[in-house]
């Protein structure tokens, strides 16, 4: 293991969200930076984590592109229910 021993991989992963958002205390952020610079495992994990977030975002975009046409029966049901409740 070649990574910085002052911060463990477990700590980096546990506080990865804070680390990536830059909300950790400055000293701690620097320690995490040092660890990341020397730990290929954590670098790989961070990249996979980022890709996961991108996949989630793109998943929604894909669904919007292919948004299915709303079923006619649903439209009718909404209009019928609204008419019944308003009247």
């Amino acid at each position: 293991m070649t990574c910085d021993k002052s911060v463990t991989c477990q700590a980096c992963v546990e506080f990865l969200l804070d680390y990536l958002e830059g909300v950790l205390p400055q000293e701690q952020q620097a320690s995490f930076d040092q660890h990341m610079a020397a730990c290929p495992n954590c670098v790989t994990y961070v990249e996979n984590y980022r890709q996961t977030a991108m996949l989630l975002r793109c998943n929604r975009a894909a669904q919007l592109e292919d948004a299915p046409k709303v079923p006619e029966e649903l439209v009718r049901a909404i209009l019928k229910a609204k008419a019944a409740k308003v009247s």
Partner: protein
């Protein structure tokens, strides 16, 4: 504080993802959460029914309507991350004209609104409740709730954005009312460590472009992975990362603290890293075999829906800072969660403490 261990988790059972009636700790719209504090930007990660019958749950409709009428949980331009959530904006002028007609009780305008937005709202509802029948009911409830609250709509956001929020809340209400099954632990899906270091070296994923990521999304890979998350985590990840809501908004909708939203988001993402790895790693044959994608089971019996009631040995662990965890109004009380979930306000302090104790 000793770093949590992820190695003692119980497996989680899953059922058929789409038609499975889900149960989750969900919305307490308008719940007070004095402890909430605005999370910082997620930075570079912030990529930011029965249709023929009326809603079976009149109470849900009533709550949704009241919530809307009171302005609770309603989107505002300031309160919703429009960069992340903005869908096709029909245009402010068109919105204004439609709104005026709606407020005048123009039935044709209401029909136009439904025709225009029901498809997208149904997709939103489906992502939240996962059942087409429930999604249809949710959309119906959302439109009626929105209609009744039109006088409260300030017009600063688009009608679609406003309706999106109402739909999400209606979906969360439905989830909460349906919740009844025990919740599984997410521990089995979290990375494991030995002496503070990765137990197994993470495998590099192949680089994908946003276009390729969309293609993967269309094949349902991401959704299959999401469906394998425990409901509490899945709901947060869907609202936060898929629907693009701010942590603060998600917290308000779920009636939990912003801090807990962040914890669940992070853990949910970690679990997804594990679940998606087989399909995403550099040596995956995904590209050559798009229909044969394999997701990591994370120790879960993926093909045994009957095992969905599997309980964690951590059952009964109460989640601090999460109203309703002890059961009661939510009909739950079987909350199971990761051991590492921290109470509000403790995270920062624990960071340093953990660092000091790490080997």
């Amino acid at each position: 504080m000793k770093p949590r261990s992820n190695n003692d988790a119980a497996p989680r059972g899953t059922g058929s993802p789409r038609d499975e009636r889900v149960a989750t700790r969900a919305s307490r719209t308008g719940a007070k959460d004095a402890d909430q504090k605005q999370a910082g930007n997620v930075g570079e990660l912030r990529w930011t029914g029965a249709v023929d019958s009326p809603p079976e749950d009149q109470q849900a409709e009533t709550e949704a309507g009241q919530s809307a009428a009171e302005g609770k949980g309603m989107p505002t331009e300031a309160g919703l991350d429009l960069d992340a959530t903005r869908e096709t904006n029909p245009g402010a002028e068109a919105d204004k004209a439609l709104l005026n007609r709606l407020r005048q009780g123009d039935d044709a305008a209401f029909a136009e609104w439904v025709e225009r937005d029901a498809g997208r709202m149904r997709a939103v509802a489906l992502r939240v409740v996962r059942s087409e029948a429930d999604a249809d009911d949710v959309v119906q409830e959302a439109f009626f709730a929105a209609f009744r609250a039109l006088s409260k709509f300030d017009g600063r956001s688009s009608l679609s954005t406003w309706l999106h929020r109402i739909t999400v809340n209606a979906g969360l209400m439905r989830l909460r009312k349906k919740r009844g099954r025990a919740e599984a632990s997410i521990e089995a899906l979290l990375p494991r460590f030995e002496g503070g270091y990765h137990e197994q070296a993470p495998r590099a994923w192949r680089a994908v472009t946003p276009e390729e990521a969309s293609s993967i999304g269309k094949r349902g890979v991401v959704w299959q992975a999401l469906d394998r998350l425990p409901d509490d985590y899945r709901t947060v990840v869907v609202l936060r990362d898929v629907e693009g809501m701010e942590s603060k908004e998600v917290a308000a909708s779920l009636g939990i603290s912003d801090e807990l939203v962040r914890q669940r988001l992070h853990r949910g993402r970690q679990a997804l890293v594990k679940l998606l790895e087989p399909a995403m790693r550099a040596d995956s044959e995904d590209t050559a075999n798009p229909n044969g994608l394999q997701l990591d089971s994370g120790g879960v019996a993926l093909k045994t829906p009957q095992a969905k009631g599997a309980r964690s040995k951590q059952a009964g662990t109460r989640e601090a800072g999460d109203p309703g965890r002890a059961g009661g109004a939510d009909g739950g009380g079987q909350g199971v969660r990761g051991k590492g979930e921290r109470q509000d306000g403790q995270r920062r302090g624990h960071t340093r403490a953990r660092k000091e104790q790490d080997p």
